[in-house]
Symmetry: C2
Amino acid sequence: MKSSVEPLKARRIYLLLRDRIVAGDLPPGGRLPGEPALAAEHAVSRVTVRRALDLLEKEGLVQRKPGSGTFVHDSRAVRPIVADLSNVLSHLIDMGRSTDVKLLSFGYVAPPEAIAESLGLKPGERVQRSVRVRLIDGEPFSYLTTHVPEWLGLTYSEAELAARPLLELIERSGVKTERATQAINATLAGPEPAAALDLEIGSPLLTLTRIVHDPSGRGVEHLHALYRPDRYSFHMDLVRIGDDGERRWSPALGRPRASETAKTDKNKAGEKPTRGSRAIKQRS
Amino acid sequence: MKSSVEPLKARRIYLLLRDRIVAGDLPPGGRLPGEPALAAEHAVSRVTVRRALDLLEKEGLVQRKPGSGTFVHDSRAVRPIVADLSNVLSHLIDMGRSTDVKLLSFGYVAPPEAIAESLGLKPGERVQRSVRVRLIDGEPFSYLTTHVPEWLGLTYSEAELAARPLLELIERSGVKTERATQAINATLAGPEPAAALDLEIGSPLLTLTRIVHDPSGRGVEHLHALYRPDRYSFHMDLVRIGDDGERRWSPALGRPRASETAKTDKNKAGEKPTRGSRAIKQRS
DNA sequence: CGAAGCTGTATTATCCATCATACAGGTTCC
DNA sequence: GGAACCTGTATGATGGATAATACAGCTTCG
């Protein structure tokens, strides 16, 4: 185990710089402020700034040139996968990229109350719980926890779950899946997801919680998915509908545009760097 | 000042326990293991466990009873506001809740390259940049950064932006907004958003990036929104469409069900006085 | 060339998260 | 009542992260 405790301020600065890089705020190939400037800007010592830059360099986001400066690596290789609303990745497979699934856990347990409630289970009813990780080109990008009522889970084997989509197995059993509700949110990575997704604890994650119902309204699947935001994001096209009184956006249906896959402009949690504030005297 | 650096192990345990609570693994009202037990389980000192519990208590997730134990708070009151796909909150207003907008920043600047590209601007073209914070019942829940081409931004004033929805101002100018694309992702809070949203730096945030186009395909608005995940989340209903070969989920259109979800979050009042800036009532 | 700026490296001192331990006071339950 | 829990609080010790400072070698540019 790594008993070496991770830095705090260093990590903070690392995250901030990383966000600005992936957001395109610091253009690829561009030089970022010098270590003394960064140290002053964030009110930390230069040693700490170096720690943050070490992390960025180790991840290949940044390239350091002694005597010259630190530069954003040109090939921002880490473009997120794009999934449409319905969470469809099929166009990725068309593109020749391979997705694999690792089954981390499989078993029958008593469900947490919240899940039992959302599936409409009777008290005492058990569920099949599985944890899977999806990989694209060998890299993990999602951490899936599913709960399925026991009577339904028993219609397929552990090996089948590891090999085929869960929804396919459910429908094979004769259950019709017509409706679902889902919620998208954000959270921080706990120890298990962090390890499975090859992330640091405390990294941000996209979450998707989906509850699938059969036509009678009975819950048949509870899916909780965690996504690495640097490798996955939800995209959708919207059209403006409604007449003048109440116009609003509505998702544009139709085939997911297999258009240019990604035009990532993610986000910037940070803000504009106030330029021109330099002039730090590190020397006496 | 808050130079108080966050703990590491304490934060780890905090995240662990938090995940188990929100997942329903530890049922509401239940008592969680005693501090000595937790300390032994995670191989840390009791002081560290207490730090983690302090965080949970401050967030209202647990309640401590001296001499008795630490309990999961019954009413997990902090239910996020629910917005449907199109980011519509109208049902909240129907419910009598008030949303306000604070304009934090307004000005004309040279756009970051990523934004210029997504709006299809010519080199050298400037944009109007604004930063707003939305509040519900006085509590901030979203941090909006918008970029609008200068020629369009000049058709309205700063005061108008603070008082009316941006899209309404754009349409008033004669520009037709028919299409948009958006992406949903997750990130960590940087210093400015954290301060505006009354959060710690490094808190998780939901992000929404939307680019609005006019019928000719010209970009007219770049919206970057950050949402507090504990106060806001995206919900949607899905239906299963397509014939047998390729069945998939598709968003169910129609009015967003005024679902059970939004309840008043009884957060501890008082805390941070919202910083003095204008707060204007505005419809979603 | 030479000044200015940059990264790489080293040293010392300080701060703070964590540990280990002890004790006080409340609750639960037999 | 009293044993066995629990949370609240205080103590000192320790190690790692951070700060402050100094200097080396490199690149860029006038």
